[in-house]
Symmetry: C2
């Protein structure tokens, strides 16, 4: 028995805001369309949801298709459903954002998909309502990162305190005080110091740290205030 036959069916898409961090700025991964329609215009990576595919799975698939990455921090952002948001046909889109370490993304895939990393200090012009999506994602990331230690997903496994601070400064779009930041991070006790130093950016060198997964999981349960 299917009592739903009378109802309209809709094209359902995923659009994926992929955040990266290059040590200075927050960046987004965009597709530079090679073909008509909208040739030469920038858009988010997207795809359609399959017949029997869960929405979350579709989002992971879309991310994988562009980056080759799985097991990545990903979160549903919002469902965009204006009837004319896509110029070709009525398409409802569910936007997700993902945080990846920019170093994990290889050149080959970048070229293959004609993808580019673009600084998000100013969101570029994008097709349809993708610009709005990116603005919303930036805002959500700001909120989220203040209460959950997810920022680490944007950094390489080993990172320095300065890199971590630069990341937060990029996300919040404001400068942070070095001493206060350091104190805050240590008080949360979620990173472990390594014996190794990063030596390229200064003579003195700065210690590497790694994210402490164990402690994170403890905090995750309790809920926490991060930065």
């Amino acid at each position: 028995m299917n009592s739903y036959q009378q109802y309209s069916r809709h094209l359902l898409a995923i659009d994926c805001i992929i955040f990266g961090f290059d040590g200075e700025d927050l960046k987004g991964l965009f597709i530079n369309r090679k073909l008509e329609p909208q040739k030469g215009n920038l858009s988010l990576m997207g795809g359609f949801i399959g017949e029997n595919e869960s929405v979350d799975a579709a989002a992971e698939r879309v991310l994988f298709e562009l980056t080759g990455l799985g097991n990545v921090y990903m979160e549903q952002l919002h469902c965009y459903g204006a009837p004319d948001r896509d110029v070709h046909s009525r398409v409802v889109s569910i936007a997700y954002f993902a945080l990846i370490s920019i170093a994990d993304y290889n050149e080959r895939m970048l070229k293959e998909h004609n993808a580019v990393w673009i600084n998000l200090k100013q969101v570029p012009e994008l097709i349809f309502d993708h610009q709005q999506m990116v603005e919303d994602a930036k805002e959500r990331l700001k909120q989220k990162v203040a209460n959950h230690p997810i920022g680490f997903a944007l950094l390489p496994l080993k990172f320095t305190l300065r890199q971590l601070q630069a990341l937060y400064e990029a996300i919040y779009e404001m400068p942070l005080d070095k001493r206060n930041f350091t104190r805050k991070i240590f008080s949360i006790d979620i990173i472990k110091k390594l014996d190794e130093k990063e030596k390229t950016s200064s003579r003195k060198g700065s210690f590497y740290y790694v994210f402490d997964e164990e402690k994170y999981k403890l905090l995750e349960k309790e809920g926490l205030k991060f930065i």
Copy 2:
């Protein structure tokens, strides 16, 4: 030109979590199904999204169909897309939550739809994944109300400080200190005292207040920390 013909089309539904407050507890409005399938079981009010209907508009329509209310605080919660979430067919659902003043909801409509207000201190058993939706909505409401003065939508136009406090206590599911609460509310300066008193719940009587729309809009722009 429609290049999307190859892709699957999906049933798209709205489910609406309607919050109310009776002076003591946070409540939700649910449908008690009169007909098979799932007769006798509780569910959220829902509906399907029309061919050319925006998702937001569909949510407003669903709310209106059950409550007769428009111009109500409403917010998209999340898109639920597990392929087997509805037992009859694959349906992707976009959940919204709404805040209404329980007094605005009239008995007639309640009976007509076989709807019931149920205390959300413990979320009742519901069909499909509706229980999850309600849990998520409660959580979102907690977060939201801490930073945005939207709680007023759950109260009548005139309310006392004690009612306002009881509302926050119900949402946070914790007791609040009367003096600290009062001070906090006044410091935000978003309610106006009336000359009138509510006299049923005490001999002394407590002053009525109204929400100050003007101040709210100012704060809205700047962003604010509420409670």
